[in-house]
């Protein structure tokens, strides 16, 4: 039978507030265990939560960015369960009334089309602490630094039909929260975690199949592999007449497989009820208007502008706006007044290749946007040929000089555009290769390449290629 994959995502984005969602303790990552947990985070007797308004602002900002319904009133609820890293015995979350309601984002499909993916809701909640099972023989350690860190849980509709779509959606959300500066997006540190619900159904059937949830994926690559594994696992079960069990699974990154996490606890009853320590959260028109004013240009808007005003292709504009950092880099170049298309080619070409080779992020690039802009400017004004520009770029990458001009000067990489100098080179080559000159004149056009090569070599690659071609043609014609 032919199966259709149905995927929905729950993304936990850690909000980039300075302090926790219900206390004044710091949210900074990497501190000594239990040094960033105050009485509230520790669930001491008699303490009370007070909502961090900055977390609210960030949630509302996300809601506005995905054109979501933002109800005036949302409610914090307690999700009750016992676990050592959950100090109060309940997690404060939102249940029936989330701060952000229905919204949507557009993703690009492989065939160049776009698809609208529904976002069911996004709600505020606190993170739990961490249980550390290693290093404590026969016991577990608990670090409550993370307890009370604000999270925005973003729940998608089951609108995704393949791993590729799921990744495109996850990347879109990842890019969006970074554009909005509401989440640092650091997946290694757990600032952006994904739970994936996967189910299969016979192609053409409306009713969804039974889903399995793969929890806590922290890379797009693992998500891709986990979905692929899970689709195959479920297909095997269904093909052989079995039934998929609704359960939570974990992806084992070493073995490359998903496995059941806690089967029977699935029937957990969290006994949600409104938290009596917190008043309903009111997001009024005034707050929404305030946050709307703080909204930066969103990636889709920026992409549209790059296409319309800079003449970039949709694809190029999409790549350049895929992350805020990359777009920022590109826009710093544009601010130097250089050619937009040429700049785009350099960012997406050589720069991307070098970054990739050294596994660096754009923010770690040894070549600054200003330097790359200088390079582009020197190409535009014919100081550099493409070949020379690549050499200069390598020097920049290796930090052989501060500015492009200094490198051109010190490495003698200036393009030779002086006709006299070029003619001298050509004359010498023609004199040294009379046979080839004769053959060329007899109609062996292919030899043009030979002369260009010789001249380039003689000029150490610095000859202006267009000018060289022109002069060669003239001289060889006799």
């Amino acid at each position: 039978m032919e199966w259709e994959t149905v995927i929905g995502l729950e993304i936990h984005a850690q909000l980039a507030t300075k302090s926790k969602i219900f206390s004044a303790a710091s949210t900074a990552f990497g501190a000594e265990p239990n040094t960033q947990a105050c009485a509230i985070d520790l669930g001491m007797p008699g303490v009370l939560p007070v909502l961090n308004q900055d977390a609210v602002r960030m949630a509302v900002m996300f809601g506005l960015a995905i054109e979501a319904e933002i109800g005036e009133k949302s409610v914090f609820a307690r999700k009750n369960y016992f676990y050592p890293d959950l100090p109060k015995g309940y997690q404060i979350s939102q249940f029936e009334l989330p701060v952000v309601g229905k919204g949507h984002v557009e993703i690009d499909l492989e065939d160049g089309k776009t698809k609208r993916i529904g976002v069911t809701r996004a709600h505020l909640e606190e993170d739990a602490g961490k249980s550390l099972h290693e290093d404590f023989q026969g016991a577990s350690g608990i670090d409550l630094n993370r307890a009370g860190t604000p999270l925005l849980e973003i729940v998608s509709e089951p609108d995704l039909r393949s791993a590729a779509e799921a990744i495109a959606y996850a990347k879109k959300i990842h890019s969006l929260v970074r554009y909005l500066e509401i989440c640092d997006g650091n997946m290694q540190e757990g600032s952006f975690r994904m739970d994936v619900n996967v189910s299969l159904r016979p192609k053409g059937q409306d009713k969804f199949g039974t889903r399995a949830e793969i929890k806590n994926l922290n890379s797009f690559r693992f998500m891709d592999k986990a979905i692929a594994y899970e689709v195959e696992r479920q297909a095997d079960i269904l093909e052989s007449g079995g039934k998929v069990i609704q359960e939570t699974r974990l992806y084992d990154t070493v073995k490359g497989e998903t496995r059941s996490m806690r089967g029977k606890e699935e029937a957990n009853d969290y006994r949600y009820f409104p938290d009596p320590d917190l008043l309903p959260l009111i997001v009024d028109a005034e707050l929404k208007a305030q946050v709307r004013e703080q909204l930066p240009e969103l990636p889709d808007e920026k992409r549209e502008r790059f296409v319309l005003h800079l003449g970039l292709s949709r694809y190029d504009a999409g790549v350049l706006t895929s992350s805020r950092e990359l777009a920022d880099y590109y826009e710093v170049m544009l601010a130097e007044g250089v050619d937009a298309k040429l700049s785009a080619n350099w960012v997406m070409g050589d720069l991307a290749a070098f970054l990739n080779k050294d596994a660096l992020e754009i923010t770690q690039s040894p070549v600054s946007a200003q330097q790359l802009a200088q390079l582009v400017a020197r190409i535009s004004d014919n100081t550099l040929s493409g070949t020379l520009a690549k050499k200069v770029f390598e020097h920049l990458w290796n930090r052989d000089g501060e500015t492009v001009d200094a490198i051109i000067e010190s490495k003698g990489l200036k393009q030779i555009s002086d006709s006299g100098a070029l003619e001298q080179i050509i004359d010498a080559i023609m004199a040294a290769n009379p046979q080839q000159v004769e053959q060329f004149r007899a109609g062996k056009d292919k030899l043009m390449g030979f002369f260009v090569g010789q001249a380039m070599k003689a000029s150490k690659g610095q000859a202006n290629p267009a000018q060289l071609n022109e002069l060669l043609k003239k001289k060889l014609a006799g």
Binding site: N80, K88, F273
Partner: protein, 484 residues
Amino acid sequence: MHDLTLRELSAKLAAGTTSSVELTQHFLDRIAAEDAKINSFVSVTAESALTAAQAADSVRAAGKAGPLTGIPLAHKDIFCTQGVRTACGSKMLDTFVAPYNAHVVDRLAAAGMVMLGKTNMDEFAMGSSNETSFYGAVANPWDLTKVPGGSSGGSAAAVAARLAPAATGTDTGGSIRQPAALCGITGLKPTYGRISRWGMIAFASSLDQAGPMTQTAEDAALMLNAMAGFDERDSTSVQRDVPDYTAELNNDLNGLRVGIPKSWFGAGLDDGVATQVRMALAELEKQGAKLVEIDLPNADLAVPTYYVLAPAEASSNLSRFDGVRYGHRCDAPHDLTDLYKRSRAEGFGSEVKRRILVGTYVLSAGYYDAYYLKALKTRRLIAEDFAKAFAEVDVIAGPTAPTTAFGIGEKSDDPVTMYLSDIYTIAVNLAGLPGMSIPCGESAGMPVGLQLIGNLFDESRLLNVAHRYQQATDWHRRIPAAYA
């Protein structure tokens, strides 16, 4: 000296005829001599009390004394006190010392009051007789075979026996007013949100409210002045100006409309209590008040509503007592589940367990709508009844409790009968209203309480009515013979 009110002690201190150190020592001596019989204190902080008293005397010497500076008091052991054990009547917290003070503790300390110690209470404030305390039952100073009421039974007994001139209490379903009635003292539960709950160990968060327990309404006003006010650490505390609660104490009662819920005088109310309460109402009438019969049609739903909502919240609030970070932990747990099960089984008493079970049940999938959600709806109906009543009356008056103090052990095996001792107080918490109990007579030698209920934030009026009543009567000055 121990028979004096806060106002009178304040005057003596101001006149220099006594010092805070002398006063504090006097009460410490009384506690040492008398408390063994009634068990009202679980901790006595003699050393820090005398240090605080000295500091208060210095403040007074510097001319910076306020009306409460240097006056001793006792705190219910539900309020966290930095460096002093806060056990909340439970084995679970027998070893717990908070690293912070409750807001109420800080406020009263800032007003110059001197903490003598912490008072006994029903475990986690769950009880109406102070028999559920891990630290043993408290005896009623009027008759040592009887209960003082609960859950603030230790505070009520301590003030009644004049072991402290005043105390703090908390009231979730009557826990200030009912023991105040049973011990013959004055107790005020302010409007929900009037006093910050920070540092007060939660029983049922949407109902819990701290308040003063004193000899007189005037004293309650003085303490409320120090306790009330917005606190940014408690999101449910209300941002609203705090009036001077002593300002309207002496207003006359001419034309005051007093609502009498007729259903509160029916079956279940002890005849002796009914007689005393009617006489108190007659006194109000004599002072110019008009008695108006009112109907609270949903009042009979208050107890069942409360015993769904309060346990529901409690079941969640008490989850933090898991033996992991502080409090009681069982010996040598063999795994996590064992740690949870035994720590909680050993740490909690049976009434607390009963309420956790009930609360867990009513929040469970499949029962939530039938119990919890329905109780929220009846809670709203009850609040609406009061709102309608307050359109026509200024205060509501009636009995605080259906009987006088009952015998120790008499109701402890019958939770439902026990729960009914809060039948007149519970609705007030559900509606978030301020309520008071003041002594209004004796029945067979035991004190009877008159309950006064006010509209939201109308504490001034309650205190005014109570004060005028106390100006005309002397029930509030009566002291059990053994402690006179």
